[in-house]
Symmetry: C2
Subunit: 335 residues, 2 copies
C-alpha cells in the first residue's frame, strides 16, 4: 500500500462483496427500472415524513446488501455513510436502527465515493473486514431543505438537476467478491466561481477534471486502459465542461465517459431538465448498473468519480460561490 | 494492527506531531484563557458573517498547527474534519482555502475524535503520513441554525449547554511527536429517548457509557490504568448520568473522570448554565489543555471520548428523540 501524489494504491485485494440499492417511483420508471433491488411507489417507504422516508430507504438498502452478502449483522464493522440532510440525519437515524458502529461522512453528492475510499483504506489496513459504505438522497427532503417546499410549485431553470430519491449500500471484504478496488484519489476542493445554485454541474466540473487528471498523473495510466469513466453527478452542463477541461489538458475521455446524472432518468420524457443529482444518484447507479456490468465482464476497468457541490443555502444567501469536490475510485473486474 | 470487538489497536507508532486551537472572546476569558494559540476579541475573525468567521477560525487553527509542525503545506495529506453547520460549510470552505485533499466528516460534537480515529487508521495503513484532523463550532452560527437568531434573546433553561466558539487542528505523524494514539473505538448510535433539545448531555450520556465500557471490555484494561478519562461534551447533567451508568456496570471512573464541557468555562461566573458544547469545545480543550499535559508528563494515559448528539432541528420538530454517539481515542505519553 502506498500513496503517490494524491492517489492511494492498494496492495491487498479489496473486494466489493455485496451491494444493493433502493429508489423512489420516478427512478423506478427510468431507463434503469428493473435493475434496482427495491423501490417505493409513493416515495414514502411507509413513513410519515420525507426525512424519515429517506432514513428508511438507507436501512432498506443496507439490510438488502447485508442479506446478499451472506454475512451476519454482527460481521459488519463500521458503517461509513452520509447524506444531504442538515446534520446528516438520514444516515444517523439509520445507524441507530441498524446498530453498527457509525462514522458519519459529509461529501455532498461525492459521499458514496468518499465512503468507498475510506472503507477500502480500513480494509487495506486490516482494521476492518466488512465495512459498509452507504449514501442517500430524497427529492422531497432535499427540495424542502435546499430550495422550496414542494407545495410552492417553484419553476426550475433548464440547468437545474433533479435530486434522486435513492440510497445505495456497498459491503467491502478482504477475501471474496467479484469487483476489486485497486486505487483511490481523495479530492481537493475547487471553486471556479459559479454562484448559481441551479447550475451545480458547472460548479463541480472543475473538481472532476482535477481529480481525474491527478489520477492519470499519479498512476501513469491513460483513458485507453479503462472501459468507463463515470462522474456522479455533473449532468448535461457539467459533463460537457469536464470533458472540455480534460481535452484541453490532452486527456481524451470522449469514447468512454458517462455521468450517473445522465443515466438515472430519461431526459427526454422525465422532466428532470439537466439530469439527476443527490448522493443517492451515483450510489444507486453504481449498485444497479456499474457493479453488475463489471461482475458480468461487460466492463473490466472503471473509474467511479463521485462529485459533490459543497454549498449550503446559507453560503449561497451570503453570496459565496459553490466549491466542488471529486473523489475517485478505481474498480476492476476479473482478468 | 488488529480489531478486537469494536476497538482498533494500532501496532505502529502513530504520533500527534503538532496541534493548535483558536477560540472566541468568552473562551479566552475562561479558566483555560492563556492556553489557546489564537483568539478573537469580537468572535468575527475579520469576517462579516458568523459562518465565514467559523470557517476562518478553522483556517487559523490549521495554519497554526502546520506552522508548529515544521512541515510544509504540501506535506499535509488529507484534511479530515467537520463542523455543525448545515452541509459542513465551515470545513468545506476552509478546505477550499487551505488546498489540501479534503474528507468531510459529520459526527456532531464527536467530530474531533472521529477525525483522529480515521486519521490514525490512515497513518497505521501507511497510506497517509501527515493527515490533519480538525473540528469547529461557533456560538453565533449554531444559535442561528439550531435555535433562534441571537437578536431574539431567547431564554435558555438550566440544562442547556453553550456552544463553544472554537476550532482545533491536530496533525498526525508516523515518526515524531510527544503523544501517541494507541487504540480507538468507533461508537455505535444509542438513543435513550430524550427529546429535549436543551438537554443534549443527557441524550449523549448513554453513548459515552457504552463506548467507554466497550473499550474496557475489548482491551482488558481498567480505569486504574489511566490518569484521565475525558468526555466531550456531556457537561453537568450528562456527566453525572454517564458516571452513574458506568458505576452500575462496575466501572468506577470517579477519581479520573472529567468532561471538556466543564473545563472550558467557569460555570459560576460565565453564565453558560450546564457547560460547553459544540465540535470546537472538545477540539480546543484537547489542544489547549490535554495534549500539553501529556507532553509535559503530567498525564500519561488518557481516554479522549468525543460525544455527539445526532439531531437536527427538523428531526426534533418531527418528534424524534436525540440519538447520541461517542468515539474513543486512547492517548499515551512517553513511558
Amino acid at each position: 500500500m502506498s500513496k503517490n501524489g494524491d492517489t492511494w494504491f492498494f496492495d491487498n485485494n479489496i473486494y466489493i462483496r455485496a451491494y444493493a440499492c433502493c429508489v423512489g417511483k420516478k427512478e423506478s420508471e427510468g431507463p434503469l427500472g428493473g435493475l434496482f433491488d427495491l423501490f417505493s411507489t409513493d416515495n414514502r417507504f411507509g413513513e410519515k415524513t420525507w426525512e424519515k422516508a429517506e432514513s428508511r430507504m438507507v436501512q432498506l438498502a443496507c439490510n438488502k446488501a447485508l442479506f446478499k452478502s451472506g454475512l451476519k449483522s454482527a460481521d459488519i464493522g463500521c458503517l461509513l455513510g452520509g447524506d444531504l440532510l442538515n446534520q446528516c440525519i438520514a444516515t444517523s437515524f439509520a445507524g441507530r436502527a441498524l446498530g453498527w458502529q457509525t462514522l458519519g461522512l459529509y461529501g455532498a453528492c461525492s459521499t458514496m465515493a468518499e465512503g468507498l475510499l475510506l472503507g477500502a483504506a480500513l480494509v487495506e489496513s486490516g482494521l476492518e473486514h466488512h465495512p459498509l459504505c452507504c449514501a442517500s438522497s430524497h427529492f422531497c427532503s432535499a427540495e424542502r431543505q435546499y430550495r422550496f417546499p414542494l407545495e410552492y410549485g417553484s419553476q426550475r431553470p433548464r440547468t437545474s438537476q433533479w435530486t434522486a430519491t435513492a440510497a445505495g449500500a456497498v459491503i467491502l471484504s478482504p477475501d471474496t467478491g467479484g469487483v476489486r478496488i485497486t486505487a483511490a484519489t481523495a479530492g481537493r476542493v475547487y471553486d471556479p466561481g459559479v454562484c448559481d445554485t441551479n447550475n451545480m454541474g458547472a460548479a463541480m466540473a472543475q473538481a472532476a477534471y482535477e481529480t481525474i487528471a491527478t489520477f492519470f498523473r499519479d498512476s501513469g495510466e491513460s483513458p485507453d486502459n479503462f472501459d468507463l469513466i463515470v462522474t456522479g453527478d455533473l449532468s448535461l452542463v457539467g459533463k460537457g465542461v469536464a470533458e472540455r477541461l480534460l481535452r484541453q489538458d490532452g486527456i481524451d475521455v470522449s469514447r468512454i465517459y458517462n455521468d450517473c446524472g445522465l443515466m438515472l432518468y430519461d431526459l427526454n420524457t422525465q422532466d428532470v431538465h439537466s439530469g439527476a443529482s443527490g448522493c443517492g444518484c451515483s450510489a444507486a447507479v453504481l449498485c444497479a448498473k456499474i457493479l453488475p456490468a463489471i461482475e458480468k465482464g461487460e466492463l473490466r476497468r472503471v473509474l467511479f468519480c463521485g462529485t459533490g457541490a459543497l454549498l449550503s443555502p446559507v453560503s449561497a444567501f451570503q453570496g459565496e460561490s459553490i466549491p466542488g469536490i471529486c473523489h475517485l475510485i478505481c474498480l476492476e473486474g476479473k482478468e
